[in-house]
Amino acid sequence: MTAKIDTMSPIRAREPEAQNNVTPAPPPGETPFANSTIKLQAEHLNFYYGDFQALHGISLKVKEKQITALIGPSGCGKSTFLRTINRISETIRHTRVEGHIRLDGADILKMDVTSLRRRVGMVFQRPNPFPKSIFENVAYGVRVNGLDKKTPLAETVEKSLKRAALWEEVKDKLHDSALALSGGQQQRLCIARALAVDPEVLLLDEPCSALDPIATAKIEDLLFALKSQCTIVIVTHNMQQAARTADDTGFFLLGKLIEFDRTEVMFRKPSEKQTEDYITGRFG
């Protein structure tokens, strides 16, 4: 694949400048992080569905090649936030964004949306394989983006399926319908589909909520393996999952980011009362 992360020099070159832009005063609950590259940064992000404000001034930093988990009760805005990162939220009418999200320092709202989505992959809550063969599902993004004619498509598909730990299960039936797979397999197929274009960031919106515990464990193992290759942001309402997988965790409540910190800090010694209540299960 061409889009190897270590060769993205034109984008890298802009990073120091981007970090200079970062305002020094961190919002409440945010700890400044040292010694790691900031991949994604949200600044005072507001989001509206018509008149309803779903996100209130969200500011947070996602570190490169780490897993960042977003937790909170349903309707708290964590999914909405995730969906603004690749601007899939724009497909819903009467929505509005204020503030900035920067990817490697560049404002995503000013980017071409298709190239943004090639760099930022997404996996949805329910597995959504296309009604096509397994092969065509994985190849879809590659075909859409028309990437690199030097690597044969079959090779890319195989590599992506291996990265998603699905290859062994499907290698003999690549041309069967993807809809015949089990739920867990479908979700890993969707991950493979997202990985096929070598995204720099992978967004996962409650990827295990429709899966059984065994399939969930497989996906979590997969996330650890993928961490070395891309930056992962996962939305979950399962706190154990966040505690097991994430390096950093953010807690959302009623459209606000209440607290954002290292995962072990969040779960052992949260500084906010509301976070503690939620984590210890005292929350409605």
């Binding site: 298709t114 989505r117 949805f124 959504n128 296309f130 009604p131 879809y140 859409v144």
Partner: protein, 282 residues
């Protein structure tokens, strides 16, 4: 106690009455099928499907020309009506907000309600008059215009039924709207749209009125697209009101063939739609 008995009795009586209505109506289908089979099957033989009609008053002959004529008229209708309806349906499903799409929806409803005989007048003025004679093509255009509204409606409906998650999946991979529609949404709605097409064809296959002055009728083969042609429904009509006993028998046979074709296409398509929608909901 007495009141409760009365209420129960009313309940039972109305259940019986409405049930009787339903069985009565449903049994009409059996009567139609049975009566056509009873009168038509005897006249069905190989000649019916392979021979031309014999001169009036003689017995024998067949309806090969009308069967072929119907097939050609339907093919032309499909090629004319379905693409327009399909693409317009894509438009309404995917870009269909605002005033202009609203006007299109209203116009489609209007066109759908136009009596078939009026469509016949229209196709006559549009094609037959400039060409100076009736033709397969004119019949095809008349039926094609009738296919447009249903084709549009089924396309729009089945496209709208495709889950948002599939569209988002494609867009999250960087696909543009057009690409998403043509590579993911339409393939996902394919079986529903195809079933809708079958229902649509079955509906116009039995149309007679718009063919009376467009395809007109013909006792012989009609090569090409520019000559008048016989069609099954038109021949059924002509033979049914004729004074010849043998022609009437052939009208029954043709009616039976037409009915079996139309009903089996309907049954298959409805079965397919039932399956796809129930799978979609689960």
């Amino acid at each position: 106690m007495k009141l409760s008995f009365r209420r129960k009795a009313v309940n039972a009586v109305m259940l019986t009455l409405t049930g009787a209505c339903t069985f009565l109506v449903a049994s009409v289908l059996l009567v139609i099928l049975g009566y056509l089979a009873w009168n038509g099957l005897a006249s069905l033989n190989l000649d019916f499907f392979t021979k031309l009609p014999v001169p009036a008053g003689e017995t024998g002959g067949g309806m090969a020309h009308a069967i072929l004529g119907s097939a050609k008229v339907l093919l032309a209708a499909m090629l004319i009506g379905v693409p327009i309806g399909f693409f317009a349906g894509v438009y309404l499903a995917e870009f269909g907000d605002g005033v202009f799409p609203g006007i299109i929806r209203y116009t489609t409803d209007l066109l759908n309600g136009v009596p078939s005989i009026v469509i016949g007048i229209f196709a006559y003025a549009l094609i037959v008059l400039p060409m100076r004679h009736p033709s397969t093509l004119a019949g095809g255009i008349a039926l094609g215009v009738m296919m447009i509204p249903i084709s549009l409606r089924t396309t729009e409906e089945f496209l709208r039924a495709v889950p948002v998650s599939l569209r988002e999946g494609a867009m999250a991979l960087g696909a543009g709207k057009a690409r998403t529609i043509f590579t993911v949404v339409i393939p996902a709605a394919k079986s529903g749209i195809l079933s809708g097409l079958m229902l649509n064809l079955a509906r116009v296959a039995g149309e007679t009125a718009p063919l009376l002055f467009t395809a007109f009728g013909n006792q012989f083969w009609s090569p090409g697209w520019m000559l008048a042609t016989a069609t099954l429904p038109q021949v059924i009509y002509a033979y049914a009101i004729s004074p010849y006993e043998d022609w009437r028998r052939q009208a029954w046979a043709a009616g039976f063939v037409l009915l079996v074709l139309v009903l089996s296409v309907n049954a298959v398509a409805r079965f397919a739609i039932g399956r796809t929608t129930s799978r979609g909901r689960s």
